[in-house]
Symmetry: C2
Subunit: 336 residues, 2 copies
DNA sequence: ATGAAAGCGCTAACAC
DNA sequence: GTGTTAGCGCTTTCAT
């Protein structure tokens, strides 16, 4: 039927133990035996049985990636980076969606344990309520991505959200906007809270009053972005808008079109997270771009180091996010 | 350490075999024992070890989804449908990207075998060259999605691409366009070839000459769409454009903006595959919409039936794709 | 340096 | 109906 390690052993005239040693690249095997084994593996097209291996070793070579929404292009691009890094190291990747739901998140963390995943990349639903003990108790490493936890002992890879939001808001103020609204993310996420904090800091820096009416929270999804924007407009006119993620930006643009606002003349817009189509829009969209693929790679690299057992202090890797200025935020008569 | 089936057996005062029977919901266990076992499972928070199970049964409860590009929103939405259906049936899902590369595809099919996946959802890189024997020889069911194989014995779930392209092209012709270009997909894929065939049929139906200069092939990616469009424009003016998938549409729009074409006045545009942002674009984009999530669900349902061993003739499920007319294709003075 | 043998946690024959 | 037993394919002591 399927060829096992014993078939290879017989073919190479060695014991199964020796084949196993060769396959796990241990150095204590005579080189002529190594060659013979490798040759047999090749001719028999032998593939080790993953189930048997992980039953025995109590570990797999599978990484879990638990994110809120696989249809969000930010995450898919990030996942690509994780996949590539994992692949190179001989690991495969499984994905799960939480929909920002703490219950679903907890369930998937348990699955990760049951499946004995080698490690987990997590974009936590909440900086305070997400509990990782299930994993850490059993020594399964976790790295959070895009967002952090309050718990500083957990590795994370993020961008400087505060700074990015500060710059984006500053850019709108430099363009002459004085009533700048923000569609903020869920307060439970660090992307939500840090970006809002950056926005507020920019207002202060420019001596512009921080009007509570100018802040509306959305849920990082399209519909939420649309309704939050309509709510904001209902509270009074604004002349600039910062939207805290990509999907909400789509909703916001729909709302603005629907209410007859001209961009950037009536209202200058800056979104968060570049998207493949941001440049194809009319007017092209000014956004905070994140190195999504790189974020994924770095996250996976860090996770793999933990899996290998490297001892390092808790890492908080921060990558740069930069403002890509396009027409949606450029006003005719900018202020100096 | 971790609780095993024997711990549960001891706690419930039965044999491991009985616990196994209960867990696999076999009917030949006395109901009072079933209760006791279930209670023990709950109090001990027992989770069966997947590795041990699949080592024994030579099968997993994992589905593989092998697609060309996880960053393409068509596929992610489809994958959501697969995930939800799989989840309900107690299966989990792993993803892989082929980048339309036959080698990569073959490699992942081998991984599917090695990992003893229960079944595979595949969007084949080529209708002629993709070989599925690796899987079918070992009884691993496959359903192709989005695209078909020449081999009619393989189940598939697609939309009626021919008809959809026919309608989309017909719509452009009804709008008065007479020089309609098409950015076609890779000829190796059925989505590429069927959509092109539908386009040609519409030209015939409207008695419009089929100018070879109006057909350019792209690779289903953004850059390919951009360069194909520039190539098309270089060959001579067109007044209508059909783009055969979503990512190429983004590239096409960039090319049109860059060359100063006004949509829809200079050139009416219809894209394929709805995207969350199609309605947020100015002008809103006319596209062929596919029931992506539903496609995923139906695919998974079919695959799960095959996994359960149901005997049915080869299925070729065809779901409806419909034209969502928005402004990008609406001309001032349409022809009747 | 290499082989023999035990056992990871589970299910499927086979007894009873 | 339920328990006993063997063994899935691999790695890892422990001898040699």
């Amino acid at each position: 039927m399927t060829t096992t390690i014993h078939d290879v052993a017989r073919h190479a005239n060695v014991s199964a133990a020796t084949v196993s040693r060769v396959l796990n690249s241990r150095t204590d095997v005579a080189s002529h035996l190594t060659e013979r084994v490798l040759a047999s593996v090749a001719t028999l097209r032998y593939r080790p049985n993953g189930a048997a291996r992980s039953l025995r070793t109590r570990a797999t070579t599978v990484l879990g990636v638990i994110i809120s929404d696989i249809t969000n292009p930010f995450f898919t691009s990030m996942v690509r980076g994780v996949e590539d890094a994992a692949q190179t190291a001989g690991y495969s990747v499984v994905l799960a969606n939480t929909d920002e739901d703490l219950d679903k998140e907890r369930r998937y963390l348990e699955v990760a344990v049951a499946e004995q995943l080698a490690g987990v990349v997590l974009s936590p639903a909440s900086s305070h309520h997400t509990r990782l003990d299930v994993l850490t108790d059993r020594g399964i490493p976790v790295v959070t991505v895009d967002r952090r936890l309050r718990d500083r002992s957990i590795d994370s890879v993020t961008v400087n959200n505060y700074r990015a939001a500060f710059d984006a808001t500053g850019h709108l103020l430099e363009q002459g906007c004085r009533r700048v609204g923000v569609i903020a993310g869920p307060a439970a996420t660090t992307t939500g809270s840090r970006r809002l904090a950056g926005y507020r800091a920019a207002l202060r820096a420019f001596d512009v009053a921080d009007d509570p009416a100018h802040v509306v929270h959305g849920d990082f999804r399209i519909d939420g972005g649309r309704s939050a924007t309509l709510e904001l407009l209902a509270r009074g006119e604004v002349d600039g808008l910062l939207v805290s993620n990509n999907l909400m930006t789509i909703g916001a643009l729909e709302a603005l079109a629907q209410t007859g606002h001209q961009i950037p003349d009536d209202l200058a817009v800056v979104g968060f997270d570049d998207m493949a189509w941001a440049g194809a829009m009319r007017p092209p969209l000014t956004v905070v771009t994140q190195p999504t693929y790189e974020i994924g790679r770095r996250t996976a690299d860090l996770l793999l180091r933990r899996i290998r057992g490297e001892e390092l202090p808790p890492q908080r890797i921060v990558l740069p996010a930069t403002l890509a200025v396009r027409q949606s935020s450029l006003r005719a008569a900018p202020m100096r």
